[in-house]
Symmetry: C2
Subunit: 353 residues, 2 copies
């Protein structure tokens, strides 16, 4: 085997905003993350499936369409109101497969444990993963565990990868949004990120804010049945929240997005916490919500299907796709003004998932 | 969603050697790793595919047999003679699929980066992954990047998961070793672990010891063609080396293994380094070698096929399967004595892969 090429003088074709080293924002799901993908990973790994940049990749396999997805989880703390890194890791990959139109089937689990993690914590995480997998109807079929020295981890990092099948007539993806599409969200926004930040900051409210971590595959099956081919795009707005997901989709489809701020479903305690923390719920991570772009003709039917599912009770229409200002998301505020909802550069909330 | 059960007083049905917390040995691929799997993960995740404990899981998918595997890599240093964490991560998962009899097809990549990692290092790692994938004929189709604060990682941890297809007539697995089987190894042992330790300890020899990291899928295709259904077990002896792999197989198949120490192919510089470091090459990790259990009748043909491949030039017959001492590996030493080659409790070499 020959020596690897010398990268000591390596420089990026388009500089990564002149950062010579990784900063927290490279993991934030905003512009810096996107630049790392666009200017470093894509040129290296170049292939059609990867270039599609969906939540999962869809590849041919023995005459079928296989969806594959992976996600690492570094959330802190490991346990929080409404869930743990265990639920999150299972639901996150299940949802990435489901929003690509796939039926999730099998998961893998890779654990990086830090020396000193109590065995009882690991057992609780494994148990949470098992229960989440059972709820989602998927099987955890293989795993791997590595241990790193104290001071080189943070208790437990979890990677899940998953596969599922996409039926031949499903064609859902971030490039398929069309002017006229109605944009729905399956419930209240900002719950997960606010729950995590409230725990970290020791905030207390009358009601404990709980993460919304949940597997969306059955809800999505239901709305696919109601919407059929009128459903053009689905995405789970995790890191970077609804704002980042909509920006990505508007860019990928080269369309404009118009939002109605007063239509956003936001819990009152989440709104209060966001005000205290200086956050905007539209940028805050969700772990059990899906955004759906659907042709106007089927929007009412899809909304009804969503609301009939316990996980979609608070579903709402929050905006629409226009052919003006392609690649840009504009929100009509509650006081009648308009503002551009730009993608964040770095990250509002570190290590949220 | 209901509260997770209270595991604060959780105790394992069979105590994990009374460790209340994770120790480095839980990641060493020895007995402690096995206990974590057996007493913690298996009871939690319980299902048939997982219980099989192969390098990859083989599951039904649309009338096909899909192999799935995952591995996290925490090797330090990130770059070493003969390779990097990038090659290692691709080759490791390719090999886990290949030794299960699968043709590896698609990989996912999950990165956990530590704040401060030079972008140039990340670019070099991505490039190594891309080249390794190309050499192995697999595609990296999706990925994820997370960033953790300085002091909560070690530059870069990489997870790869992969899928491949197993042909219907292939039946290879750790439970299928039979008395009379001949055991082959595809080349010199202990190269990878010794290379890593030599770098860490600053040892210098006349020849630099290089990691053997390599994708074995084409070599394995060749030997499957030569051996057919006479090939009963294949395994890549990584963490814990040849000794741990053979112990696992002898236990899983409930057979005895007899080795001839003088038949082990070991490079002279590896032997010298192992003597200096107090290591036994049979316990040292390999990253480009496969152990093959084949019926006596086809052993010569398989050995010839292995040797005709550049990656199998130094292949050798190192032992055989017997019906005595089931679950135990015994080595005939070069001075004519016999010794039991027991599985290690913890780990000889931390963070070797």
């Amino acid at each position: 085997m020959s020596e690897p090429p010398d990268f000591s003088n390596w420089s990026c074709p388009i500089p990564l905003r002149d950062y010579p080293a990784i900063v927290m924002g490279h993991g934030g799901g905003g512009k810096l993350s996107a630049e790392l993908v666009e200017h470093l990973f894509l040129p290296a790994f170049r292939n059609d499936a990867l270039a599609n940049l969906g939540d999962a990749s869809i590849v041919p396999l023995a005459g079928q369409r296989l969806a594959i997805s992976t996600d690492s989880f570094v959330v802190r703390p490991l346990f929080f109101p409404g869930g743990s890194i265990g639920d999150l890791a299972v639901n996150g990959t299940v949802n990435d497969l489901a929003v690509s139109g796939a039926r999730p089937l099998y998961l893998t689990v890779g654990m990086i444990l830090e020396e000193g993690l109590p065995i009882a914590s690991l057992a609780r995480i494994a148990n949470d993963m098992a229960k989440a997998a059972q709820t989602a109807g998927v099987q955890i079929v293989t795993g791997d565990t590595k241990v790193v020295e104290k001071g080189h981890g943070d208790g437990c990092y979890v990677n899940t990868a998953g596969v599922g099948l996409v039926s031949v007539d499903t064609d859902i993806g971030p490039t398929r949004a069309k002017p006229g599409d109605i944009i729905l969200v399956s419930g209240t926004i900002g719950d997960h990120g606010t729950a995590i930040m409230s725990v970290r900051e020791g905030l207390e409210f009358q009601t404990t804010i709980r993460s919304d971590t949940a597997a969306l595959n059955y809800l999505i099956e239901r709305l696919l049945k109601a919407g059929g081919s009128a459903i053009h795009v689905m995405r789970d707005p995790t890191r970077g929240g609804v704002a980042s997901s909509l920006n990505e989709i508007s860019l990928a489809s080269n369309v404009g997005v118009v939002l109605e701020e007063k239509a956003f479903p936001v819990r009152s305690e989440v709104r209060a916490a966001c005000e205290l923390l200086g956050l905007d719920p539209i940028f805050v991570a969700n772990e059990g919500k899906v955004l759906v772009f659907v042709a106007d003709s089927r929007a009412a039917a899809v909304l009804e299907a969503m609301r009939s599912d316990p996980l979609g009770r608070d579903s709402a229409i929050i905006g629409r796709v226009v052919d003006q200002h392609p690649g840009m998301v504009v929100a009509h505020t509650s006081i009648g003004a308009s503002r551009v909802v730009a993608m964040q550069i770095g990250e509002q909330l570190p290590r949220i998932c």
